[in-house]
Amino acid sequence: MKRWIVFPLFFAAVLAVWEILVREKIWSPVMIPSPLGIGGYFVESIRDKSLLDASYVTLKRLLLGYAIGLAAGLPLGLLNARFKFCEDTIGLLALGLQTLPSVCWAPLALLWFGQNETAIFFIVIMGSVWSITLATDAGVRNVPPIYARAARTMGSSGLHTWLKVIFPASLPFVVSGMKQGWAFAWRSLMAAEIYVTIMTGIGLGQVLHFGRENLAMDQVMGIMIVIVVIGLLADKTLFSPIERFLHRRWGTAK
């Protein structure tokens, strides 16, 4: 069977069994909302725009925070790989902070910045920047030295070698680091939105949290599904094309 038909069939079957189990009261409707109930939530929340608004708030936080994390992580990684001093200082710091779940920053972030977007950005950035830094560092270190030597005999030097040879050569590593950074940013943001009340906008995590307080599990699961779909879309639109290009160029695809 074709791949694109397998998944919808599988998905439809799961939903049907789920709906039947809930209707027959084998699964308690209090514990698990039915697929149609979740569908009802979607219809309602799309109609009153609450879902789109929350998605917009969350995506804005994610993309902006991630972009800043990227803009800081890539140069930091290059610096760490280039200068021993940076490796011994920033490199060690990055390694340590990467192990810290970034939602741990929430108390300090709220104290420093208040209950606003800056605090959220800070948590998202702390979630993504270190893994991007470490991956860039590792990627540069794994570049075969012969590339830089070949470039030097062709008259390349300094910044040109770094931008045109060492950075592109490290791309397979860097891109997997960017993906990891994205996943960390996404998790950090959800944790922050669920546990921290932010006055400046209601994101998906907060809507999920309200669902919990109102015992509206259809809302909770609906938001969970939206989070999964956004994650999938990000992977397919942002990273898959780059990865496909890398696989084709490097010949690493099967």
């Binding site: 030597r149 592109p168 791309l171 160029r249």
Partner: protein, 270 residues
């Protein structure tokens, strides 16, 4: 010097290596890679450096390229001291060292893009010319991993030739290729050397290869790396690697190589 040049009608030296020594520190102690090596290469000469591994021939090539600095001694290119790598002395390696993030065309364009005073259209034309020269113009858009070993070395050759360096430094460029491909490339490189008027310094451990390609074969001995003997090669071109004259000539060099090697291996056995 200028009077000598005038009187003898000797063309000026393209490359001058004078009293170059180089020691490496390794975990097992110091390795004396080159000891007081001097070598003069004339414009348009094809010089082959031959010797067993560890005789410092690759190190000397790296020093001429400016990728490494000698401990003592100096290297002059066109009379000017070499202080770093430069596109006037292009290097080719045993591995093609092609960039996998660029396609074939992108690789050949790399050095060209570093040359000012060329429009992008002209650069592409020059790149196409050299890809045609090495017989790969149909593979312009190919990815590097799609090429065979021999094709990769041809692209590497095109990439090295494209910025039109006067000097080509080749470090065992054909060592990892099969015999058939290698033989084709012997023909190609002689052809290019003659047509494009290059000065070539070619490192190999294959005596037959050296005799086939060079105007002069320079024999190195290891521990420490020194020049032992030099052999001018006057055989007519284009030379065939399997010809009898060439075999005779390379036997002579091989004999000299063995003569210089004997005491070394006895020393190593201790």
């Amino acid at each position: 010097m200028s009077v000598d040049t005038e009187l003898l009608n000797v063309p000026p030296e393209k490359l001058v290596v004078e009293g170059v020594s180089k020691t490496f520190r390794t975990q097992r102690g110091r390795v004396h890679a080159l000891d007081d090596v001097s070598l003069h290469v004339r414009e348009g000469e094809f010089v082959c450096l031959v010797g067993p591994s560890g005789c410092g021939k690759s190190t000397l090539l790296n020093i001429i390229a400016g990728l490494e600095m000698p401990d003592t001694g100096k290297v002059l290119a066109d009379g000017k001291a070499v202080t770093g790598a430069g596109s006037d002395r292009m290097m080719m390696f045993q591995e093609s060292a092609l960039f996998p993030w660029l396609d074939v065309m992108g690789n050949v364009l790399f050095g060209l893009k570093l040359k000012p005073n060329l429009a992008n259209k002209e650069r592409r034309e020059v790149a196409k010319f050299y890809l045609h020269l090495v017989g790969l113009d149909k593979f312009m858009r190919s990815n590097i991993h799609e090429l065979s070993g021999g094709m990769k070395q041809r692209v590497a050759l095109a990439r090295a030739l494209a910025p039109n360096p006067r000097v080509l430094l080749m470090d065992e460029p054909f060592a990892s290729l099969d015999a058939l491909t290698r033989e084709q490339l012997y023909g190609d490189i002689q052809d290019i050397w003659a047509k494009r008027q290059k000065t070539i310094v070619f490192v190999t451990h294959n005596v037959r290869e050296a005799a086939c390609l060079g105007n002069r074969v320079v024999l190195f001995s290891p521990h420490p790396g020194r020049i032992q003997e030099q052999f001018p090669v006057d055989l007519p071109r284009p030379r065939d690697i399997s010809s009898v004259d060439l075999a005779k000539f390379s036997t002579e060099i091989t004999r000299a190589l063995k003569r210089h090697l004997k005491p070394i291996s006895a020393e190593e056995a201790e």
